[in-house]
Assembly symmetry: C2
Homo-oligomer: 525 residues x 2
């Protein structure tokens, strides 16, 4: 009854922002008013209510908290608590995540970790249960295959919204029985898609399977066709895949309630330097999108897609708009065009009061590899096949070169799940002609085995050994010594450190990779 | 898997409409394509699929089936099966109903009747559980008070969407504990409102209670404020309350996904002569609304509000749009501007194949009144208080006149629930100076007691007796004989006859009322 009493002025509200321009998402218009809330719930929009804390909102803008429509938290290298502490001050109050990477590495234990962690956060972390583990039939992962039965146990979990990105497009089109078992089990929940470049009747068949969103559109016409077929389009701007500029022309009043923004894979340096969803909003406005539309898309539209605009058990709170009865997830701006944030309120509390810690439980070291004594990284002599690596591109090329040519390095992948597979050895090109040393990583989509590139077997072995000891991570070795190292003990994917320490370590790693002559600007992320 | 096979062209579809202009609700645009479906599910929008029945759609339009956002089926005087058979051919494929009238008369049995009936229909009849029975504390009804516990038992019923119009506005604002018990129990479902003219901080408090729609806006500014406060606005055009013309200016691309159309109370003659939702659409377009917007509001927008655009257990079908995977609830038009209907498909079947019958179970005669021997309808002599009744208005006026003045008739209300209350007697004016006879009805919101107006006690008694024998209804008596009679044995509210027979009886009643000198064009509806 206290919310009623506060809304009737019988008791003071917790906070009121007076005389602020707030976004009415329903009309897609700015209005001026006094936005007041109590116990995390907005109770009034007009002058007349008092509050324990009064905030002057004149010449400021207030918008609903941002909702990331699709994100892999693992790509931030942060545990969920640190991820929250990192993105909440940037306006992201809800994130719809797919713990696909941790699930690939740890199986159902990886999902369970995220489900448990989500319950202890202030950030509203919603979980889509990973549908495609392993990602392909050819992958060797640690978690084994996650079956429909494994997922069904969590269908009623309060943070679970449905089934995560169905990337097995051939499986959908060819009627893979195990996949359809999952689609059937989640038919009354949300099912996210992942269907880059799928068009025409194949896209119709994919939609008819009940899949209702996709974050993988890189072409305007492709995205527009998805909308027509009832598939909501999440406009992605990650650290690698960047679709925003191409898809901005899709945004108008007609389409806006079927669009959303998502970060998918965004690394900690980009989050720290450019921002999170605030960056996407800023870019969209810069490219001509009306601010009211950009903020609507960043909040209400995604909330509606996932039913978060309806009261949800157990929290019984609507989210995605500034209106009485809705959750006080709010972003206060001193410039709406630049998305310049003054304060973020989550459940009515300023973000600085929302910090959570210790969502990392102790994981057993998930790296079960042993550096073999007879690690044969030499390979054949003379003319050899070489993998070409290129600055800023995911795609590699194939070449035939001399093994001892300048710039050709040794490249090895060591299976990390203790399955006893032999190391996969090859040559690689593109790390720089003066490269001398070794660089190793335990992050490699989607199996996340241990990869090392180096110029001497000794340095490579030391790098692998360092990663095995730290349960995964990134490291650089020079002349037999580890000169930079970011341990990622959470499944070999996530650090337990704070966002600040992670970005500091990443900068040290970048510096160290330059020190060993690596010419790639960013060899790790 | 058959839907997949049909969408891949492995097996033929059930039907395809070729070369038709169909509404893409997501872009709010007409597109041209071949809309194909199988087993009630749309599987394709492009040429290339074959079907057992091929329909030429050239120079035709296809729109999603209409959704009535708020309707009392009882006002049609039809049982749910006849209501379906009446409105399906007019394009209404889903109706969100509140069985408030039957609940007032029969209590939880009235709700149970609608819940049971809804499971046997082709029309998608969704139920909002009546929140305010009796409607006011001053009403005498037959069902007694319906408590939160009575409603909670049906919260998981597949056709139940939530709590019906919360008309007890003072109860919301003053924190009535019994009402809040209901609001709390339904907080994670939809809660419909009913708050005519409520504005400002009181409207905010009402919204903060979790109420998310209202069909009672009669002013533009009032409706606009409701939208801003997160309350979806259902634009009503019933038989009595008509708000469409006033609210048409509210409709634009920004607001369209938070608006809907509803009929609320629409009588069988209006349904037969003007139409159902098709009439509202036609009127809106005539008043300047772009057809794409009108059809979007009539389907997808309401579906989204109630979560019907998401797959729903147990049917697992999305509704409200023409897209693969969505239910084939379709209206084929030969003129989109006039909403001129060629065919309606419900679950993919033409409406003529969707007829249902016998949703009426045998009700015990719910009229327990006895015409008292000492029925004193004479009242006082000389100057008396008289109720003025006026053509086409709900509002009555008060007068003081001579009891024997021409045009003054006797008016009585007989409590019908066997509670032994004395008849309420009065005088009435406005039925015509040459009125001679009696007219009686068992339909009178919200208690539905027996009302009779007449010039002689004898004719009045005969009229009451006729209604008691038929379990309720409408009748006209002249010179001691019943000259027209529509029995409404279903709770005294609904006929078991077909829509055609009901309208025929209503026309006979109208004729008979003229025969007894009644000057009101429509004394019953």
């Amino acid at each position: 009854m206290s919310v009623l009493e506060a809304s009737r002025g019988v008791i003071p509200c917790d906070r009121v922002i007076r005389n602020v321009k707030y976004l009415d998402v329903f009309h897609c218009k700015w209005r001026t008013g006094d936005v007041a809330w109590f116990d995390g719930i907005i109770v009034g929009l007009e002058p007349g209510l008092n509050a324990r804390e009064e905030i002057d909102g004149s010449s400021k803008w207030l918008v609903p908290g941002f909702i990331d429509a699709h994100v892999h938290v693992e790509s931030s290298l942060m545990t969920p608590d640190h991820f929250q502490n990192s993105v909440l001050p940037k306006g992201t109050t809800t994130a719809i995540c797919d713990p696909h990477e941790l699930a690939n590495v740890m199986g159902v234990d990886g999902l369970r970790y995220f489900l448990d962690a989500s319950l202890g956060l202030n950030l509203d972390l919603r979980i889509m249960l990973s549908s495609c583990v392993p990602a392909t039939q050819f992958e060797t992962n640690g978690g084994g295959e996650i079956e429909a039965q494994d997922l069904i146990q969590w269908i009623g979990h309060p943070q679970v919204l449905g089934l995560a990105e169905v990337m097995n497009v051939p499986g959908v089109l060819n009627g893979d029985p195990k996949l359809y078992e999952k689609l059937k089990a989640f038919a009354h929940k949300s099912i996210d898609g992942h269907c880059p470049l799928l068009r025409g009747q194949e896209l119709s068949a994919y939609a008819a399977a009940g899949i209702s969103s996709c974050h993988e559109s890189s072409q305007f016409e492709e995205a527009s066709e998805k909308l027509t077929k009832g598939i909501s389009v999440w406009i992605r701007e990650g650290s690698v895949a960047k679709d925003l500029e191409t898809l901005v022309p899709l945004i108008d009043l007609s389409t806006s309630t079927s669009l959303g923004f998502c970060t998918d894979d965004r690394n900690p340096l980009d989050i720290a330097q450019e921002g999170h969803l605030d960056y996407l909003i800023r870019m969209a406005i810069k490219r001509g999108v009306r601010p009211e539309l950009a903020y609507r898309i960043a909040s209400w539209s995604v909330a509606r897609h996932y039913g978060l605009d309806r009261a949800h058990a157990p929290a019984h709170r609507r989210r995605g708009a500034i209106a009485p009865g809705w959750l006080a997830d709010l972003v206060l701006l001193d410039d709406a065009d630049c998305c310049s944030i003054v304060e973020v309120y989550k459940n009515g509390k300023p973000s600085r009061e929302c910090k959570t810690s210790a969502t990392h439980r102790l994981f057993k070291n998930s790296i079960q590899a042993v550096v073999p004594d007879a690690l044969d990284l030499q390979g054949p002599e003379g003319r050899v096949h070489v993998i070409g690596v290129h600055e800023g591109k995911i795609i590699t090329t194939k070449h035939v070169m001399n093994a001892d040519e300048p710039g050709v390095a040794k490249f090895s992948v060591l299976e990390r799940y203790g399955k006893g597979s032999k190391p996969q050895n090859a040559y690689a090109f593109g790390f720089g002609e003066s490269f001398q040393g070794a660089i190793a990583s335990s992050v490699g989509h989607d199996s996340h085995n241990l990869a090392v590139v180096g110029t001497t077997t000794g340095d490579q072995k030391i790098a692998l050994q360092a990663l095995i000891q730290s349960g995964g991570g990134f490291c650089v070795v020079q002349n037999g010594s580890v000169i930079a190292h970011l341990p990622l003990p959470m499944g070999g994917l996530m650090s337990t450190e704070s966002p600040e320490k992670i970005t500091q370590s990443l900068r040290q790693l970048r510096q160290a990779s330059r020190q060993v002559g690596c010419s790639l600007a960013e060899p790790f992320l």
